[in-house]
Amino acid sequence: MSDRITAKNITDNEFFYGHKACAGCGGSLAVRMALKVLGERTFIALPAGCMSAVGFNFPQLCFSNNAIISTFAGTGSIITGIEAGARALGLKDYHVLGMAGDGGTADIGIQALSGAIDRNDRVIYICYDNEAYMNTGIQKSGLTPFGAKTTTTPAGKHIHGNVKNKKNMFEIVAAHGIPYAATASIAYMDDFIEKVRKASQVDGPSYIHVIAPCPTGWGIPADRTIEAAKEMVDCGLWYLAEYYDDEFHLNRDPNEFTSVSDYLKSQGRFKHLSDEDIALIEQGRDKKWEKIRAWN
């Protein structure tokens, strides 16, 4: 498509700058790039969490567009209010974006998100998923994967980290019959950018679930954020897909997966996993791919 946004033509404007996120923070990259796609006429709401903690400390205010912190549970409903207010006041040509982490989306914020989709509000919701409550110091969320060690799912002799699988937010959202939903990864930036652009053109709610590693919480060096995100997709533990016109579409179907074991073992949070644990994770992956390959 000729109107695709690329490294060459993307705006020079920076909307999220000077923030105090950890070095190598994947979430801040997702926020930065989403705003570069959507532009200056974007109202962004972020709940209590990493991004609001690092970006909104008066008098250090790091968004150059209109930005507001929402209640932790209220991202979905504050964006409804912003959009309704803006429409009622006759504003034109703007986007309303909610950006919350995995806890703010899949746990405490899922009710308000569901409400926003149900209301068919013209809002974009992006979940930047780093797979645990990182702002409070790495506790398990509904999107923490099986086996991951967090400060509330310790890895010991009796329990090997998190015993539950990740919720599938993408399919939960799709089950609402949303006009547009997608999964993405910050490692596949062109794909993520294109999905944000598509979301911006939807006349109704849209949802993007982007994997954004947290080096601190994942136990990886700060410079490995993008690599880890890429490995997660390449080994098949995450997939790039879309949902529109009431159907799922798999965007990337590799002939061969890279090693799950290598992906897991390179991260501190999975170091304790046994070969049996890893075999279980691989089986889970294969089962999932049988289903999603049937989409196409």
Binding site: L61, A67, G74, S77, G85, A88
Partner: protein, 404 residues
């Protein structure tokens, strides 16, 4: 004069909101507030109210949505009651600290457990510290008028604080009265459009609802507090303006009835005041100098106005020996377990601060919709007159209290 209709307190409030023309309405139904939500959706449907009506999925979202609407400069309305108020409680200091001039109707209802849908004031009284202005209305006409007047107060440049308007559940929300519904033209004359810099603006972008660390945090709260302290003057201004346009007045922070020379003053909140006035008239006919002082606002708390009302009666009767205020009683539908009624706590603090030294009693009743009878109110006065030892008295108990 507008049109007179025979409607309930909830209906009257909805009529007031139609006149206030909020741009966004977000509310979740809960007994006994539900009629308000239903009427407003009817009004949006028949286009007599041009608002975005948002079907929120909870009270937490109702307020969060109102905050979002206000954050771009829209006039927002929400309504709730009881468990709903408590469920949205996180958003209350949020809306107030953000200085979003939202108006919310609260139908005063008991809080679980035990479950109960009937009226008492434990829901809103539990939220006195959340930073909102709290007003308690007495009848359906005042409900309608305060719906309109609350936006004037909330949005006033020297205030910019949200207002919670409280209606006693069922007793007021569901009772039908003749209500004068003003003409829209006059309402527009009374209430100017909402204009504020406290908003996100496409031409002049803002970062809002931010964190403020220990070095600056307290100052933001002091500014909020000072705005609350300016409310009393704005209430008077609003009432005067209202009277000049509509020919009706509801008074200021408090409203006294026969308090000018009263020896025994019962302090009330909300719809029970009418019955208390009747008892006062009876007692007066028997030669007892009784009076009622209705608190219209609990936040900001009308300390000075309470003292003035009581000191007035002292001064006016001072020529005659023994004619000063002998006792004050606070009648409330609330209990702070393990202590006393919270309104009583506030009244006592006001009396001490304002150097009014009289015996002060607390009458707790009406919990979970228990009827407060004329006889109960007579007993409150006889308790004060008898200078009884017990300062905190539960009235209207159905059984003998034999538990230690």
């Amino acid at each position: 004069m507008g049109k007179v209709k025979f409607i309930s307190g909830d209906d009257a409030f909805a009529e007031g909101i139609r006149l206030a023309r909020p741009q966004v309405v977000s509310a979740y139904p809960i007994t006994p507030q539900t009629i308000v939500v239903e009427r407003l959706s009817d009004m949006v449907e028949d286009q007599s109210l041009k608002s975005e009506f948002i079907h929120v999925e909870s009270e937490h979202s109702a307020l969060s949505c109102a905050i979002g609407a206000s954050s771009v400069g829209a006039r927002a309305f929400t309504a709730t009651s009881s468990q709903g108020l408590l469920y949205m409680a996180e958003g209350l200091p949020y809306a107030a600290g953000g200085r979003f001039p939202i108006v919310m109707m609260n139908a005063n209802r008991a809080t679980a457990l035990p479950w109960n849908i009937y009226g008492d004031q434990r829901d809103s009284v539990s939220q006195l510290d959340c930073g909102w202005i709290q007003v308690y209305v007495e009848d359906a006409q005042e409900s309608l008028d305060m719906a309109l007047m609350s936006y004037y107060i909330a949005e006033h440049p020297s205030v910019r604080v949200p207002v919670m308007v409280n209606l006693d559940g069922f007793v007021l929300t569901h009772t039908y009265e003749a209500v004068d519904i003003p003409e829209a033209k006059l309402a527009d004359e009374f209430l100017p459009p909402y204009v504020s810099d406290n908003k996100m603006d496409l031409e002049n972008p803002k970062n809002m609802a931010f964190s403020v660390g220990p070095a600056d945090n307290q100052e933001f709260h002091l500014l909020h507090h000072k705005a609350m302290l300016r409310v009393a003057d704005v209430v008077n201004e609003a009432d005067t303006r209202f009277q000049s346009i509509f020919g009706r007045s509801h008074g200021g922070m408090v409203e006294g009835y026969r308090t000018e020379d009263a020896e025994y003053v019962l302090i009330t909140v909300g719809s029970i005041t009418g019955l208390a006035r009747e008892v006062v008239d009876e007692l007066r006919s028997q030669g007892v100098r009784a009076g009622v002082l209705k608190l219209r606002f609990l936040r900001p708390f009308p300390s000075q106005q309470i003292a003035e009302a009581l000191v007035n009666s002292i001064e006016q009767g001072s020529a005659e020996v023994g004619s000063v205020v002998q006792a004050v009683g606070t009648l409330e539908k609330d209990i702070s377990f393990g202590y006393e009624g919270t309104i009583y706590t506030n009244v006592n603090s006001a009396l001490i601060k304002e150097d009014v030294h009289v015996p002060s009693y607390n009458f707790i009743g009406g919990l979970g919709g228990r009827d407060i009878s004329k006889e109960d109110i007579r007993k409150c006065f006889s308790h004060m007159i008898g200078k009884e030892k017990d300062k905190i008295v539960w009235i209207g108990l159905g059984v003998e209290d034999d538990v230690r």
